[in-house]
């Protein structure tokens, strides 16, 4: 990994058309301005990773049949008509 030192107000150019500028620095954080073409996406890494994990999970345990069955059951449950579960036991 390339490590560079920059001062506030200084920039980096990545490739031909991505510019990363250091706007402000304090003891705990750095403010960065990014200028990039519209097809280049910039995300906070932890958010991107969380979305990625969620997608992998969605793909892995997807089960449309159980979901549709559950929906149907719930739809058929009209609160006014709901009978006690133990009805018919005695």
């Amino acid at each position: 990994m390339l490590v560079l030192t920059r001062k506030v107000g200084e920039s980096l150019i990545i490739g031909d058309n991505i510019e990363i500028k250091i706007v402000d620095v304090n003891s705990r954080s750095v403010k960065i301005a990014i200028d990039a073409p519209k097809d280049v996406h910039v995300y906070r890494k932890e958010i991107y990773e969380a979305i990625k994990q969620e997608n992998i999970e969605a793909k892995g345990i997807e089960n449309i049949i159980s979901l549709v069955d559950f929906m149907k059951k719930t739809k058929n449950l009209d609160p006014k008509e709901t009978e006690p579960e133990d009805k018919g036991k005695d």
Binding site: I47, I56, K59
Partner: protein
């Protein structure tokens, strides 16, 4: 003219996909939805189809045509969350070749655990589709009102 006719023929030509979960699926070129940016986690996959069957309504399957093991359950978010109205970036409208948000449909990717009652839908990163242009993108919202794991069903 001849080239055009060939193109049209190609567009309706039946293709087959052998899905690991859903078995044989027939589709044609005109059904393909192209990801302007691949779905995070599946960055090599660009072509998908939306599988809609009567018995699965209101859910759809968003299936890769390039990898038979990759499919997602999606749902029209507005059906479950009528107030869902995230601010989309103009840049994303351009990428999806939409004149306005009306050209776009927002789907949520659903995670179904073993107990379907606990199913969640990702409202933080909707799958946004422009059906007319056949383009899609999973847009990661800046909006903090929406959660990645939003319960689909109320308690």
């Amino acid at each position: 003219m001849k080239g055009n006719a060939q193109l049209q023929k190609k567009a309706i030509e039946k293709k087959e996909l052998f899905s690991l979960k859903y078995g044989k699926i027939e589709y044609s070129e005109k059904d393909l939805i192209y990801m302007t940016n691949p779905i995070p986690g599946f960055i090599n996959l660009y072509d998908y189809i939306v599988i809609s069957t009567e018995e699965n309504i209101p859910f759809y399957v968003f299936h890769s045509t390039e990898d038979p093991s990759v499919s997602f359950i999606i749902v029209d978010i507005k059906l479950f969350f009528p107030d869902y109205n995230p601010n989309l970036h103009k840049r994303d409208l351009k990428i999806l070749q939409a004149k306005s948000e009306k050209d776009l449909k927002l789907f949520g990717i659903v995670v179904v655990p073993s107990n379907p009652k606990e199913a969640t839908v990702n409202l933080k990163a909707p799958l946004v589709i422009n059906f007319e242009k056949k383009l899609a993108k999973q847009i990661i919202l800046e909006d903090d009102r929406y959660e990645i794991k939003t319960p689909l069903f109320k308690e």
